[in-house]
Amino acid sequence: MLQPLADGIKLIFKEDFVPARVDLVVYWLAPAISMVVALFVYAVIPFGPEITIFGRRVPLYLADVNIGILVVLAASSVGVYGIILGGWSSNNKYSLLGSLRSSAQLISYELALGLAVIAVVITAGSLSLVEIVKAQERVWFVALQPLGFVIFLIAAVAETNRAPFDLPEAEQELIAGYQTEYGGFKFAMFYIAEYIAIVTMSALATTLFWGGWQGPVLPPLVWFALKTFAFIFFFVWIRATLPRVRHDQLMAFGWKVLVPLGLVNVVVTALIVVLRQP
C-alpha cells in the first residue's frame, strides 16, 4: 500500500535530468502548474457539514465561496496549460503531438463537463458547492439528472486523461506523450497531478450528483469518503475494461454527441423547472 509513496520518495533522488534543447523556464514551470491547480481545488470541496467538536462549530469545508463550482472549473482549465507547456517546452516531436492532442481533448470535453454542471446549477439554484449538497437533502441529483450524470462522468474521465481517453500518453504511438522528456520528480509531479485530478473528479461527482456527505446512519465524512472511493474504483475499473478510442472517434464523440446532448439536457431541465413553477 505504501508502494506509491516509496516510489515518490525514490524519484526525489533520481537524477535531475534536463534535456539540452528545452525551453528552460517553461520546462520547469509546467509540472508546477499542473500540481498547483490540482491541489488548489480542494479549498472549495465540501467534505461534510458543520460539526461540533468540544463545543466549537467546525465546518468540514475549508471555504464556502459563492462560486465554488466556477473555481473548480477554472482550475481544471488552467490545468491544460501545464500539459501543453510541458509538451511544447520539451522540444520533442512526440511531446508536442501528445500535448496538442491533449489540449484538443481537454477543451472539447470541458464544454460537456460545463454543460452537465449547468443543469445541476439550475436544479440547485446556486453555484456554491455547499449549497448544492444541501439542495440534495431530499433527493440526490443523480435521480433528477441521470443524463447529466452520464455526460459528467464521461467528460470527467476524458478530463483526467484516463483510459479509454488516455490518448495524450498513448504509449504505442507517442512514447509517453507530453511527459517523454521529463524524468525524476518533475515526471512524478505530472503523475501526482493526474491522480489528484482523479480524486477531485470523484469528489466532484459525489458532490454534484450523489448527495455529497449525505447518507443514513454513518457520519457524513465517512459517507463522502465512501462515495468518492467508489468513483475512484470506477476510474480504475474502466481503465482495465475498455480499450483506447481513436482520436477522431474521441473528437467526434465529444462534439457531435456530448455537446448537443449537454445542451438538450440544459434546455429540458430548464423546461421542467418552468413547467413546475406555479
Binding site: 534543447r21 522540444n91 520533442n92 503531438l97 470541458e110 520528480f185 462534439w255 457531435k256
Partner: protein, 122 residues
C-alpha cells in the same frame, strides 16, 4: 460584501499559496539533492534512438486551431449560461424563452460547423 465571504476567499487564497509552495518545495529539494551528470549524448531529445533533426517547434495541423476556435465560441456560451442558471428559479418563463433562442442560435452555429466539416478529424 459580508465579512464571511472575505474570510472564505482568504482561505482560497491561502490554499493557492500553500499549493504553490507544495509544488515549488519538491522542485527545490530535487534540485539540491538529485545527482546530475550531463553528457552530450544523454541530453539529446528522444527520437526513437535516431539523432533528432530540426526543431519540434514547427507548424502543426490546422485542425487544432479549428477546434480551438469553436471551443472559444462555446465556452463563452457556457459562461453566459452560468449566471442565468443561478437566478433561473427567480425569473419568469420569459427568461427561459430568451435563453432558448440563445441556445438555438448556437446550435445553428454548431450545425454549420458540422456541415462545413470543421468537426471532422482527418
Amino acid at each position: 460584501m459580508p465579512p464571511n465571504v472575505v474570510v472564505d476567499w482568504l482561505y482560497v487564497g491561502v490554499f493557492a499559496i500553500v499549493g504553490t509552495i507544495m509544488a515549488a518545495l519538491p522542485l527545490a529539494v530535487v534540485w539540491l539533492l538529485a545527482p546530475r551528470a550531463d553528457l552530450p549524448q544523454k541530453t539529446l531529445t528522444y527520437e526513437s534512438g535516431v539523432i533528432p533533426f530540426g526543431q519540434a517547434w514547427a507548424q502543426f495541423n490546422v485542425r487544432y486551431y479549428l477546434f480551438a476556435l469553436i471551443f472559444v465560441v462555446f465556452d463563452v456560451e457556457v459562461i453566459y449560461l452560468y449566471p442565468w442558471a443561478v437566478v433561473f428559479r427567480r425569473l419568469s418563463a420569459f427568461a427561459f424563452v430568451e435563453m432558448l433562442i440563445f441556445v438555438l442560435i448556437l446550435l445553428v452555429g454548431l450545425a454549420y460547423a458540422w456541415r462545413k466539416g470543421a468537426l471532422e478529424w482527418v
